[in-house]
Subunit: 275 residues, 2 copies
């Protein structure tokens, strides 16, 4: 069974569009892009496309790649204080002469619709439902909710421990009363955990890493891997074979990743409401 | 083998005392206590005793239990801004008419030496070594370091998922490259995880919960349980039998808990240095 991220995202977009249509003035999302990195430009154009689809205002600030950290911080400060800005993102990665932590820490937490600021990471740990959650983890929770998969009391293994996927989804699932194991690439006998899991979330970036022999027949697979080989996109899972075994699984592309932009816009709407 | 928290704490105190003796003016810790709850008063007097031992200044603000939330927030605001205050704590629990979250969120993160503020929880997730860590989890890391137990690549099971123990220690250990499983009281087949663990951390508050049959012969046990029955203190582990099986284990009292105050004072010294 395919867990269709695109379909879930479409429902989120349509709900948001409906809510925004009832407002006197729409929420306004800003995005900062430094330089002309082409994957970044593609991501930004996706965000713009969907923002416009739901009638959200979208403004792009595209700076030259030689912008200094100080100049960038000035722009962030302006976005932080401007009451017409509901939320904004700084598209990563940034050029090497700019310290990404300094930039993320400078964003006003209530406008940090990517959910990267430490205070937003902390609100996920101690659980504050009204707060802005990192978008990819929030997308997984949305997908599980849509398919009526309650994480409560389930065994869940997460492979990968990044700040924007592995660790925040772990904290969300712990709060949802799951038993959560966080593995890394050096975990001894990873199969021990994955085979005993109701849900496996993989975010390694290693194509065909998760094969049918690593999971049980009922394991649900959320694949957050993303690799491009010879122009073709791969997740971490051996999708075809796992699907043939009837396990529910998210495809790549069209799975969890499709929900990331939807959650960004949902966060922006949340930030607008919190104001 | 007994993992002696008291001994490790004493070393921390002596190091701090030595560092403070070289300063022109000592760090200053403040504590807010509301009412006359007797366990709270005992905890506060322990903190005061050790602060004085290491020549740290200590000031107690003891308010009547009828103090309003607003009055308490005013005091916090004053402590936040006074440059002579390096760090302060609000002793929990607070009376029911005061919202604890509001109070914790009001503490300036750089003076939050309990490490309870969401930004400090978030800094643990994304890993910022200079930041103020929740004291009991930080104490466990100190104990492991003292006994040269490196969490890297180890399987670690944590039973309990509280905001001040289970979740922050999980995040610290994930960042230390351990494979971490966080269980709760409803986990199906908890033995599956504990028996396969190099380290088990238990923080349930259920005496004799962790018995020898739940662990392997080499499992290290960190017992953060704390229950009082007929005036006697118990941890979660069947201490005598586990010890007889030669597993390394922390006693209760005298184990992990002994390090909590030491870590509070270490945080206060850190806050002083960060200033």
């Amino acid at each position: 069974m395919i867990l269709d991220g695109k379909k879930v995202a479409q429902e989120v977009y349509d709900e948001l569009k409906n809510s925004i249509s009832k407002l006197s003035s729409p929420p306004h999302l800003h995005a900062i892009l430094v330089g002309k990195n082409s994957p970044s430009m593609r991501y930004i154009s996706q965000k713009q496309k969907w923002a416009e689809y739901i009638w959200m205002q979208f403004t792009l600030h595209n700076f030259d790649e030689n912008i200094t950290e100080n100049e960038l911080l000035k722009c962030i400060n302006w976005l932080n204080t401007d009451t017409w800005v509901d939320g904004f993102i700084v598209q990563l990665p940034l050029p090497k002469h700019i310290n990404e932590s300094n930039i993320i820490n400078a964003i006003a937490p209530q406008k940090d619709v990517d959910g990267f600021h430490p205070i937003n990471q902390g609100k996920i740990v101690i659980w504050d439902a009204s707060w802005l959650k990192a978008c990819t983890p929030a997308g997984m929770m949305e997908l599980l909710k849509y398919y009526k998969i309650d994480p409560k009391w389930k065994n869940i293994t997460i492979i990968g421990r990044s700040n924007i996927v592995g660790k925040p989804i772990a904290n969300l699932l712990i709060n949802a009363q799951a038993t959560v194991t966080i593995c890394n690439s050096q975990t001894k006998d990873i199969d021990f955990f994955t085979k005993n899991s109701d849900i496996v979330i993989t975010a390694l970036g290693k194509p065909h890493f998760l094969t049918t022999d690593k999971i049980s027949q009922n394991t649900i697979v959320l694949d957050v891997g993303f690799s491009v080989i010879d122009g073709k996109i791969y997740g971490d899972a051996d999708f075809e074979n796992i699907l043939q075994q009837w396990n529910p699984i998210t495809p790549v592309p069209g799975g969890v990743g499709s929900l990331t932009v939807a959650m960004l816009l949902k966060n922006t709407f949340q930030a607008y409401k919190n104001k």
